[in-house]
């Protein structure tokens, strides 16, 4: 059972990593922020799977905290004005 | 190789990587980022030390863990101070640089402008 959970966690991390390669490159900052959010979601999922498999205590709180803070980071991004370095298709959305 | 040793090797690599960033990148903000990388590498070394100290029913030695928590908070405060300095410097001069001669013109009114 635990091997299955771990394998699932690994698979999620792998897909996230692939997505990361694609998106961290940009072109815009908003794309990059999306990459961060993507790995946030995937990371939390694999975190819970790893915790279930290895029996570490208290990991659900870490997952909760991560979920809340990931949302917080994107709010900060929006608040920072999020102007893109490269021309953004919809600059009006960001201001 | 145990996961603890692996984490320790990652820590060592992070210290090297961060050190390179600190030395090679002239922008203060990038240097601050690199400092954070070094910091987390150092914390990971504490982490493997803690993990290798698993005993008495604990999966990891609590003392180094507590030190890492203290260290993370201090590192954050240091980043905040460095960022504030960088931003102020940028506001004053229009650029953020650590060059020693950046605007070292001798002050014309009282060198000791207190």
């Amino acid at each position: 059972m635990s091997d299955f959970l771990l394998a699932t966690a690994g698979a999620i991390l792998f897909t996230v990593a692939v997505g990361l390669v694609r998106i961290l490159g940009g072109p815009g900052d908003a794309d990059r922020m999306m990459a961060a959010q993507l790995i946030g979601t995937g990371g939390i999922a694999s975190l819970l799977l790893i915790a279930a498999a290895t029996g570490a205590r208290g990991v659900d709180d870490v997952a909760l905290g991560l979920a809340i803070l990931a949302a917080f980071a994107s709010a900060a991004f929006v608040n920072s004005g999020a102007p893109a370095e490269e021309p953004d298709p919809n600059p009006a959305d960001d201001r | 190789m145990s996961s603890a040793t692996l984490a320790g090797l990652v820590g060592a690599a992070l210290v090297g990587l961060g050190l390179y960033g600190v030395i090679a990148d002239p922008q203060p903000l990038r240097k601050i980022l690199a400092f954070n990388l070094i910091g987390s590498g150092v914390f990971l070394v504490f982490g493997i030390v803690a993990r290798k100290g698993a005993a008495a029913g604990l999966s990891a030695d609590p003392v180094p863990q507590a030190m890492v928590i203290t260290g993370i908070v201090v590192a954050f405060a240091a980043s905040a101070l460095a960022v504030a300095l960088t931003l102020r410097l940028f506001e004053e001069t229009g650029r953020a640089t650590l060059r020693p001669d950046a605007g070292t013109k001798p002050p014309d009114d009282g060198a000791d402008a207190e």
């Binding site: - | 410097l89 605007g103 060198a111």
Partner: protein, 501 residues
């Protein structure tokens, strides 16, 4: 820990050790809370208290002939934290508690809160951080646990860096940022070494560690990393780049504290590391490396000081040079002459603290009175403000190492030790450094004492001149330190390398 038990038998009066840390820390919190003029009042009121603590600790050590030990919270090391004071700590504590009030009295003019009591930025920050420096230094001198000392290093950084850019000019901001970067680098490398030592021995208590340390890879790497980090904070050549702009641009009272005391904090930890934590390591090679860097610092720092156009920068570069002397004690610290070398190093730290504080305060007065501190424009200034220049000159006497001065005593002891050890090269460097110091001081003093009196914007206030003069006289008086003083320095000093004891 039966083995550790004897090291932590509570010594009478040990609880006194917590007070020089906790009282200024409480002062910081209160000053920040109450704000306005209260910050200055609290800071100045606590300074005599701090002096009282320092003297009480010193006299307890003197009477018992043993280091003072205190265990915090009843949790004995290795689990908990111990404070420990030996002769060296006590001397540094007393020195700090003398220089701090001098800087404080001097700074009252510059950092006064307006009469209506409105809180101003610079005064609040200055008086709060001055107390923070005091707390951090006390902890550095008294801390017995390497991680606790890391916290002390960070306290010191956070207290010192904002003082550099208190006036907000762009060049001071750049200087403060550079200072902060070097300090962060130093603290992280120190911390990395701490992690390795804990990993190897499971304790960070200095006494417990010193009993277990063996020459093995982890220890060598830890020693190298920690020393490199502390050197960056001490500004030993070639890691000195941050110091001159930072110390030259800070307000004079802050410069006095930064140059006189703050760099000594990290130097103190290097001494602690090699003499108290790692005495079991063969230290001939590391000692020689440190002294070689020190020699380079003496020559390069003095040569650069000779070329400066501004007085405060000249004094700052001379700090780079004088820091170099501190490191000449390391290769000489084993063998029968080790006590002499150790005393010489400590004497250099003390006399430089007083002399440099006096010189920065004098330079501040000169800059305020003339409206500038360009060396080319100092002609005749010595006639217009003789007391200020007397303080500057007496401080310079110590830097050159001419008798009678603490600097002379320090350099004499170091030179004697190096000749007895057959390591002539350090003696030659010291002589060259003295000559160069004479050169750069001549550049300042010769024109100042001749020529026409310049018009002063405002004459310096006599009380402030007296503060600078008192510090300079203290540097001179150190020359007359009695032999008991040197015996006191040896209290609690573990035998280094092959030394007896």
């Amino acid at each position: 820990m039966t083995e550790g038990a004897s090291a932590f038998a509570a010594t009478a009066g040990g609880s006194l050790l917590a007070l020089p840390i906790l009282v200024p820390a409480a002062g910081v919190l209160l000053s920040f809370l109450l704000g306005g003029r209260q910050a200055e009042r609290i800071a100045l009121a606590l300074m005599p208290v701090q002096f009282g603590f320092a003297v009480a600790i010193a006299s307890l050590i003197w009477r018992s002939g043993q280091p003072l030990v205190y265990v915090l919270g009843g949790y004995a090391p290795p689990l908990g934290i111990a404070l420990r004071a030996d002769g060296f700590s006590a001397v540094m504590l007393v020195t700090t508690s003398l220089i701090m009030p001098a800087a404080g009295l001097y700074a009252r003019t510059n950092f006064a809160t307006p009469n209506d009591g409105t809180e101003r930025r610079a005064p609040l920050v200055f008086w709060t951080l001055l107390q923070a420096i005091q707390a951090a230094l006390s902890l550095i001198f008294l801390g017995g646990d390497l991680f606790n000392l890391y916290v002390a290093l960070e306290l010191l950084t956070f207290a010192a860096a904002p003082l550099v850019c208190l006036d907000g000019r762009p060049e001071t901001l750049a200087a403060a940022l550079r200072y902060l970067m070097f300090a962060l680098f130093g603290a992280l490398f120190y911390l990395l070494g701490v992690a390795l030592l804990y990993g190897a021995y499971g304790t960070l208590d200095i006494v417990l560690l010193s009993r277990q340390i063996r020459a093995e890879p982890a220890v060598w790497l830890a020693a190298g990393l920690m020393t490199a980090g502390l050197l960056a904070k001490t500004a030993l050549f070639p890691l000195h780049l941050w110091l001159p702009p930072a110390h030259a641009n800070a307000p004079a009272a802050a410069s006095a504290v930064l140059s006189g005391l703050v760099v000594k904090g990290s130097f103190f930890l290097i001494v602690r590391l090699w003499f108290n934590v790692l005495p079991a390591l063969p230290n001939a090679v590391p000692g020689a490396i440190l002294a070689a860097l020190g020699s380079a610092a003496i020559l390069a720092g003095s040569a650069l000081a000779l070329r400066q156009e501004r007085l405060k920068l000249l004094i700052a570069y001379s700090t780079v040079a004088q820091i170099g002397y501190l490191f000449l004690m390391f290769p000489l610290a084993s063998g029968p002459w080790s006590a002499e070398a150790f005393s010489g190093g400590v004497m250099q730290a003390l006399s430089h603290a007083f002399a440099k504080a006096a010189m920065f305060l004098s330079a501040g007065l000169i800059a305020e009175s003339l409206g500038h501190d360009r060396i080319a424009g100092l002609g005749g200034a010595g006639r217009a403000m003789p007391v200020t220049f007397l303080a500057l000159g007496l401080g310079g006497l110590s830097l050159m190492g001419l008798p009678p001065s603490g600097g002379f005593a320090a350099k004499w002891l170091l030179m004697k030790a190096s000749i007895e050890a057959g390591q002539w090269v350090w003696a030659v460097v010291m002589l060259a450094g003295g000559l160069l110091a004479g050169g750069y001081l001549y550049r300042v003093l010769a024109p100042a004492l001749s020529g026409n009196r310049p018009r002063l914007k405002s004459p310096p206030r006599r009380s402030r001149e007296n503060v600078a003069l008192a510090l300079a006289l203290a540097a001179v008086l150190l020359a007359f330190a009695p032999p008991t003083f040197f015996a006191f320095l040896q209290i609690g000093r573990p035998a280094a390398g092959a030394a007896l004891r």
